[in-house]
């Protein structure tokens, strides 16, 4: 039975991927939707079957899967982002109906609920919501980032669902809070810098992306890319990163490896969005294709999301003091961004970022 369920899920997620890639009328979407319906027909023991998500688990007909593969993780991720926790299929689902539902997951903001044999919704759990202090929320998010980074070890995977929650919270904080400066965390001790910086870069990148009109799934992926852009530093010695004095050239060479370490590890995880891999690798590349890591990509263009994250990274890093250096004030950093625009940074993105900043605060 489990094999059949996997098969069913794999057809759905493949149809979903093809739908996102091409369109809902693509032959591959129709083909996989048809296959899914065919497999689904064999799964009905009663009149309905259900797929539910509780925590990080997929539950089929009220029985959890013990094993997970990339497809199950992907489906969990896609549904969570859509706010769907349970789907109930009633006998009689047609390929056309399933295709429509899949297209809504892929493209629409909301599920319309027009499908006679497919219903979706949430599972009620006692979640305490609190509209309180935005800074407190940010601190909790930073703590979660820290927990995820620190709990990761050779045989323990990064808690991507935990980080997804952080992004959901950051996006929602930005929606509620007009001032980005009220959200980004003040810089703390340098040992905490990595986590606060990750959260700040995530917020700043979400902020930039939102002002450019990006929404939905892509916005979440950008948030995750921000959270994970410096993940490679987990593999750089703490002694080097938290050193009270200036790093030596040898130490700098080691620090410069973090984009490679980052993408190397993140690529092993099936549920890390590709944008996070790209940003982890490219966030120190520059708009003019200089920067590091120095690879054959010299001739290639930095991806636009890496350009967004590079701006956020620069902005937040220069706000941080070191024992041997004071932090720069925001207006000074903004001036530097403008000066470096066109060479280090995409000038259009810098302009958009600064316009958005100036609209929320007099610099």
């Amino acid at each position: 039975m489990q094999d059949k369920v996997f098969e069913f899920i794999s057809y759905i997620i493949t149809a979903l991927s093809n739908c996102s890639l091409y369109s809902d009328s693509h032959p591959a979407v129709i083909y996989h939707a048809e296959k899914a319906v065919k497999v689904m027909d064999n799964l009905f023991v009663e009149d309905t079957i259900s797929l539910a998500i509780i925590g990080s688990n997929m539950i089929f007909n009220d029985v959890p899967f013990a094993a997970k593969n990339i497809l199950v993780s992907n489906l969990i991720k896609r549904l969570r982002r859509k706010g769907i926790e349970k789907i109930i299929f009633t006998k009689g689902v047609t390929a056309e109906e399933l295709k429509g539902f899949i297209a809504e997951i892929a493209f629409s903001k909301r599920i319309s609920g027009i499908y006679p044999h497919i219903t979706s919704g949430i599972i009620e759990v006692n979640v305490k919501t609190d509209d309180g202090d935005i800074r407190a929320i940010m601190e909790i998010n930073i703590a979660k980032v820290k927990e995820a980074y620190q709990e990761f070890s050779g045989d323990k995977k990064l808690d991507m669902l935990g980080l997804e929650d952080v992004v959901i919270s950051l996006v929602s904080s930005l929606t509620r809070e007009a001032g980005i400066f009220n959200i980004i965390s003040p810089v703390k001790s340098y040992s905490e810098y990595t986590y606060a910086h990750a959260a700040n870069v995530s917020v700043l990148s979400i902020f930039q992306a939102e002002t450019l009109g990006i929404k939905g799934e892509l916005l979440h992926d950008i948030g995750l890319a921000g959270l994970l852009h410096d993940f490679g530093k987990v593999f750089v010695s703490k002694e080097i990163l938290e050193k009270k004095s200036k790093p030596s050239l040898e130490e700098w060479i080691e620090i410069k490896k973090h984009p490679v370490y980052g993408v190397m590890y993140l690529s092993r995880l099936s549920d890390v969005p590709n944008l996070a891999l790209i940003a982890a690798f490219e966030h120190h590349m520059k708009y003019d294709s200089t920067g590091y890591p120095e690879t054959n990509r010299r001739s290639k263009k930095q991806h636009i999301i890496s350009q967004i994250i590079a701006i956020s990274d620069f902005f937040d890093a220069l706000r941080t003091e070191r024992p041997y250096r004071q932090a720069l004030d925001v207006p000074v950093i903004i001036g530097l961004l403008m000066e470096a625009s066109g060479k280090d940074f995409n000038p259009i993105l810098v302009e958009s970022f600064l316009n958005s900043l100036s609209s929320v605060r007099q610099l």
Binding site: G113, Y292, Q326, P331
Partner: protein, 721 residues
């Protein structure tokens, strides 16, 4: 379940917790050691021992599983212990809500329970409970999660995340003086800004003095540390900076009462304080200077004398760049940090300029559609793949990591093939097959890569994708087929035979042609097929891929019962210019069978066989008593034009001058066709016909003749004469 406030677990919960830790140690060790290894046996034995001691206290105990926490009675057992947390998650992922341990548990049962936890077969929920029963585990009862108990809210969607208030509880208790010494350590682990925020929110100005003392004690008067550390000093000031002004004043005054600092300590602390903190301290002390005396007065004087220049310190310099954190600052920007520039740069007037620039700058020019294009899944996937493939070229990743990367890339290939991403797969193939990488990976991994790309599964998926969407990215699909080489030929030929859609068949044929002469042996094998259309396609492929070596087989098909095959065979002979090809052509032209004759006429034109001009003229001159062969004659005229043999000019002129009693329209149309075909002949040869055409009353013939005259300067030169 106030886990945070629980000081000590009851003894029975402690014993169960110890047993679980041991069980999880043995569970983890199972992947590292054989099942009878002493590490595993000893852990299970210790777990058993703890459980036996537990059963002396009570006959039954239930361990609840709440996501990643374990609960006994009302107590959450040590939530921070990673072993317990991991054990909880394992059980939760297997759909287990609780486990009951009963008196009477035997060591064998515990071992079987342990086997159940470590078995590779992943079963969960009720199935796992059934399995435990089948393994005769009677004194450990597994209780599955009742997922049916959750309430489904149709049509709803999730929105937000929850807020944790654990620190809030600590701070409230700290202010009320209810925290134990141990818990004060927790307070000092809260970032000072966070602590300040919580104090700001929950401490009125009128709070009793003891509340201030409690907070100050946490940082400034720690029992375990003699004297005042720089860290504590800095943290205390960070706390002060973040407090509300009224509270800050109160705290400062209390801190000064508490502080017992020597002048030498002050010196030492200041030397280690960051420049930014020093500046803030000056501000803080200046604001509260009225309450200062003694050492703190001296401290203020020292702070005031500190030079707070604006020079910026880079972390280091690397070639032409300067480094800040992990960011490279290029030469141009680096110059801005030079003392003089920097002073100008941070000056108020410059900042005002900036402000003006920002206020006057137009709205963002980013085209959202362009941005979306860059963020399409396809583009993102390609960029991510590019990053991964770049990693193969770095020289500091281990062989083990490189092999993992290979596995990841192959996983991606599986996904790409399902979504018809030939370009990406081709990129993967090219990278993985590079000689340098092969050498780095060694024979085993290289062999594994080759086996992956030549596996039946991969090839079949490739063919399915090709049929589905191959035409969309034709060049990459062709490139990939070329890389896969011989392995893909037979499956492609099968697909060609099965394919019902003509356009896909055409695509598959062109792909096979792109593979070149490598396909010939595979094609030759299929020439014996019973289906005429398969043989026709194979003959086409033989022609296109230089299959001359199989010409003897082709020759046999000139006698095939199927006329289409016969024409196709003749075409192949003509294509290879075999010695006998023209004689076959002549015999077909003289055939009584119209299909063969028409096919031969067409081929004579395609291959420009001048030898058959007389035969064609003969066919053209043949009387058409019933006008039925008019269109056939059109073909002959067209083909003669393609051949361009001047021997045809005189017969054509004869037709042009002819007059008909019957089928006049047919003759007129044939004449027009003659003039249309004249472009294929040498200029000099057609001159009489063109001059004849210029005098024609047929407007179409006249116009064609005019055009021919204009194109040919020689004619034009004479025209005026």
């Amino acid at each position: 379940m106030q886990e945070e406030k629980q000081e000590k677990l009851p003894i029975d919960a402690e014993l169960l917790s110890d047993a679980i830790v041991e069980l999880n140690i043995s569970r983890r060790s199972i992947g590292l050691y054989p099942p009878d290894h002493p590490v595993i046996k000893e852990s299970i034995a210790r777990a058993f021992d703890y459980l036996q001691r537990l059963f002396e206290l009570r006959v039954e105990i239930t361990l609840g599983v709440a996501m990643d926490s374990l609960v006994v009675d009302e107590n959450t057992i040590n939530k921070k212990n990673p072993f317990l947390k991991e054990f909880a998650r394992i059980l939760h992922n297997r759909g287990i809500a609780a486990i009951k341990f009963h008196l009477g548990l035997t060591k064998d049962e515990l071992i079987r329970f342990h086997e159940l936890l470590t078995m590779r077969e992943l079963i969960a929920g009720s199935a796992l409970v059934d399995y435990a029963t089948s393994r005769n585990i009677r004194h450990i009862i597994l209780i599955p999660i009742d997922f049916a108990g959750f309430r489904f809210v149709e049509g709803a969607a999730k929105a937000d995340t929850k807020v944790d208030t654990i620190w809030q509880d600590y701070v409230s208790n700290l202010l009320l003086g209810r925290l134990s010494d141990d818990e004060e350590d927790v307070i000092s682990s809260i970032p000072p800004e966070e602590l300040a925020g919580l104090i700001n929110a929950s401490m009125p100005e009128t709070t009793e003095t003891t509340a201030y003392d409690s907070v100050i004690k946490v940082y400034l008067k720690k029992k375990k540390e003699p004297g005042l550390s720089t860290e504590a000093f800095n943290k205390f000031f960070s706390l002060m900076f973040s407090l509300k002004p009224e509270l800050r004043k109160n705290f400062m005054s209390k801190a000064i009462e508490h502080a017992d600092l020597k002048s030498s300590d002050v010196e030492k602390l200041l030397r280690r304080t960051t420049p930014a903190n020093l500046q803030k301290m000056v501000k803080l002390f200046t604001e509260n200077s009225a309450m200062l005396q003694g050492t703190f007065k001296g401290l203020l004087d020292k702070l005031a004398s500190i030079k707070t220049d604006t020079e910026f310190n880079f972390d280091l310099y690397d070639q032409n760049s300067a480094i800040v954190h992990d960011i490279e600052i290029g030469e141009d920007i680096k110059k801005l940090f030079d003392v003089d520039n920097f002073k100008i740069y941070v000056s108020e007037s410059y900042q005002q300029e900036l402000q003006k620039m920002l206020e006057s700058s137009p709205e963002s020019r980013v085209e959202i559609e362009d941005l979306r294009k860059e963020c399409r899944d396809e583009v993102i996937d390609r960029a991510a793949l590019g990053a991964l493939l770049e990693l193969f070229e770095t020289d500091f990743i281990s062989t083990e990591d490189t092999q993992r990367l290979v596995n990841r890339v192959l996983e991606l290939t599986d996904i790409f093939i399902e979504t018809c991403r030939f370009r990406e797969i081709l990129q993967i193939c090219d990278t993985l097959s590079s000689p340098a990488l092969k050498q780095k990976l060694g024979d085993d991994t290289s062999g594994m890569i080759e086996a992956f790309f030549t596996s039946e599964k991969f090839i079949n998926e490739f063919i399915s994708s090709l049929r589905l969407w191959g035409r969309k990215d034709r060049d990459s699909a062709f490139g990939l087929a070329t890389v896969l080489g011989a392995k893909v030929i037979d499956p492609l030929l099968d697909a060609l035979i099965e394919e019902a859609d003509a356009s896909i068949r055409k695509f598959l044929l062109s792909m096979l042609v792109s593979l070149g002469s490598e396909i010939i042996p595979y094609v030759a094998k299929r020439l014996n097929d019973d289906q005429w259309y398969i043989v026709r396609n194979m003959l086409y492929l033989l022609r296109e891929c230089d299959g001359k070596s199989h010409i003897a087989v082709v020759r046999k098909f000139t006698k095939d019962k199927n006329l289409i095959i016969r024409v196709e065979a003749l075409k192949t002979l003509l294509h290879f210019r075999t010695n006998d090809s023209v004689s076959y052509l002549e015999s077909y032209l003289q055939s009584e069978n119209e299909t063969l004759r028409r096919g031969a006429v067409r081929l004579a034109g395609i291959y420009r066989i001048t030898e058959v001009t007389p035969h064609l003229i003969k066919l053209l001159e043949k009387k058409d008593l019933f006008g039925a062969e008019a269109f056939y004659k059109h073909d002959i005229v067209r083909v003669l034009g393609e051949i361009g043999d001047t021997r045809a000019i005189a017969p054509l002129m004869k037709i042009c001058k002819a007059k008909a009693l019957f089928y006049r329209d047919n003759l007129q149309r044939l004449k027009v066709e003659i003039f249309k075909s004249l472009g294929g002949y040498p200029n000099e040869a057609i001159k009489p016909l063109v001059e004849f055409g210029l005098k024609s009353r047929n407007k179409q013939i006249n116009a064609i003749s005019e055009q021919l005259m204009d194109k040919n300067h020689e004619f034009s030169g004479r025209r005026g004469n």
